[in-house]
Structure formats: structure tokens, C-alpha cells
Symmetry: C2
Subunit: 201 residues, 2 copies
Amino acid sequence: MNPEAKVPAFPAVASGPANPADRIIDVAYELFSTRGVRDVGVNELIERSGVAKATFYRHFPSKDSLVLAFLEQRDKRWTMDLILAEAHRRGSTPREQLLAIFDVFGDWFLREDFEGCSFAKVLLEMGPAHPLGQASISYLAKIRGLIQTAGEEAGLVRPEEFAYSLQVLMKGSIVQAVEGDLQAARRAQQMAAWLIEHHSS
Amino acid sequence: MNPEAKVPAFPAVASGPANPADRIIDVAYELFSTRGVRDVGVNELIERSGVAKATFYRHFPSKDSLVLAFLEQRDKRWTMDLILAEAHRRGSTPREQLLAIFDVFGDWFLREDFEGCSFAKVLLEMGPAHPLGQASISYLAKIRGLIQTAGEEAGLVRPEEFAYSLQVLMKGSIVQAVEGDLQAARRAQQMAAWLIEHHSS
DNA sequence: ACAGGCGGTAAGACTGGTCTGTCTTCCCCC
DNA sequence: GGGGGAAGACAGACCAGTCTTACCGCCTGT
């Protein structure tokens, strides 16, 4: 028999969850969000999550399906838990909360692992026709819906138009930040204030 | 000998310039700008430009060097000849010319071959550390310089800050347009008008 | 209560394809 | 005759995805 019997009974590698699928998702989240989905191969994901290849393909029938799961996680962890919850925490009125988005952005831009908006990156990488581009568009539209709701709560007129315009500022500031402009959030916030002003009354 | 002697004396394929290097650049411009640099392989470029592989590598020691040449072409054909010249043509005052940028964008967004800003795409695809990302940042900075100059000619205060902010609007509207928002240019133009207003006197 | 089977997992070989980049061969034209 | 070019074989790396083997723990049926 094998003289070096496998003792572990539990993960030798990957300190995360015991559940293999969750370990894979955690690793994918880290690698995809910092380096992009095209730059990270299945083999690296497998190695980093300490999982067998067959196990990977048991849980995710293709790499694209893992990317879909990643986008879902990104929506949950980034959109909802990071940006939305934090902006909600920082502002006491709906209007303040809308502007606080750009305060949160400002902090986010300074993070070492800041690498831009995964939805926009996947969309630009795969194109709007690809299923993954379509999924990204959906999540971006979901964000726009949240903004529209916030705009309605703030009593703004034409909230849909407002949401579209605010998203222009959000995306623009993100790309600008990737380029290295650390003041991008502040500039966008100033324009957001004018935008809110013009949608008031 | 070869019974089917090569008659051509001139390109069987690729209707463009006789010069192989120029044919390669033309094909690269078309394919890179519509599908992204990562999606187009050297083999396809060679086939489409009717050029031998050795010839390709004689003129461009690596694919990256061709991408660099493409970015230079993009700056020339897109930034200078399409956007800047056209905006200049459409507006009679510096202020109008700045706003006209978004009219040109609006037309550009409607084009069938519209696929976003190559500089931003390469930057997001390769990251700001990669040489190609660096080159993209340079060209984007060059655009910002042009905007700043236009802002100065329009007599705006704090023209540099103005240029940064206007670029947020430009990038944001482009990403939004890729996502499918055909009104992105109009929304950005409205915000640009407010921005100009606040930088006046 | 226990034996056997079965499902989930690790480890990794393997396949078929694609990619960049090199090299060879032949040809044409100067 | 020599240099640029066409055509394409080739090498080496990587990629997604399949398959094999072996191990372990749990559940089930007797």
C-alpha cells in the first residue's frame, strides 16, 4: 500500500472553506477581479484552490460557467456589500447616499488590489454579444436600477435619465482611475452634485 | 520547375498598399479596433494581409510591436482625423467645439463597427503596468492635453482640472455606449455643458 | 454490526486545439 | 547573385476539457 498514507482528512492546501466549490469560487474571485478572466487559466485556478481537475469540472462544466458564478459573486460582494451598503452607511439622506458613492469609490481607487470594474472589463473583453458580456450588461443594468430607486427616494425628477447619467460618471471615473487619476472620484462627485441639482424640483 | 508560375507581380490578396508593412498595419487597424488586440492572432493578420510570416516578423519583431504601431495609427486616424478634426469643423467657437465632441461621439456610437475606445480597451486588457497599457495611457494623456488646450482657448478657468473632468465624461459615455445606451453621448454632453458653465469666469 | 458498494475527491496523464515565433524552401526582381 | 517576399512546416508553450487511477468516508442491506 501507499506508505505515506493520506492523513489530512482535510485540506493540505487552500486555507478557505472545506467545500471545494466554495474554495474554487474564492480563488476565482481573487484572481479574476485583479487580473481579468482571460488572464487566468483553469490550471492555475485548480492549483491555487487545491482541487482536482475532475472536481473542478464536476462543479463547473466549463470555465465560462465559473466566470458566470464569479460575476454573481462580484455583484454580491462588490455591488451590494461594498459599494451600496457602504454608501448607505455614510449618508443619512438619499441624496447624501448618492454622493457618498463617490466617496466609497475614492477609497476603492486607492486600494492596492484595485483593478477596475469587473463588469465593464468583462464586457469590453468579450464584447456585448458574448454570453458573458450579456451577463455583465445585466449586472450593470441592475446597478442602474438601484441608482434609479435611490434617485426616486431622493425625490428626483426623471429618475431613469438620472440613473443613466450617474452611471456615465461612475464608469468614467473608474476608467480614469485605472489610468492613474486618483482624483477621478472627486471630479465625478462634483459633476454628480450638479446632476442632482438639475434633477431637483 | 513549378508549372504554375506565379504571375502576380502584384498582390493576389489584400487590395491595399503594395508595401507589405502598410498592408499589415491596415489590416491590424481594422481587426484590432473592432475585435480587440487579444482576439486577433498573428496568423489571421498574415492571412488577411496576404503576407508571409517571415515578412511580418521582418517588419514587426513581435506582435506587441505591431500593437504599438496600431495604437499610433489609432491616435492619428481616430483621435486626430476623426474626433478632433470633426469637432473642430462642427463648432465655430472653442466652446462649441468642446461640446461638439459629444455630437461626434453620438454619430460614432451609431456606427456598426463601433467597438469602444481602443486605448481604454487595451489599457483594461493589459493593465496599466504592461508596456501596451503604458502606451495607451500616454495617448489618453495626449488627448487630455488637447482638451486642456481647447479649454484654455475657450477661456476656461483651471483648464487642467477641466480636461480631467471632461475626460471622465468621454470615457463614461463610451463604456455606456458599449453597454448599449445610445443616448450616452447626449447625457454626457449635457453634463459637459454644466462643467463648462462652472469653469467659466 | 459489519461488509460491500458508491460517490466525492486528489493527482495527474492525455488530447486536440491555438498561440507566438523560428526556420526552410522556393521564387521573383533588381 | 542577392535580397525581399510568399508559402508553409515546425517548435514550444499554453489552454480547455476528458479520462484514469487510487483513496476515503458514508450509507445501505443483510
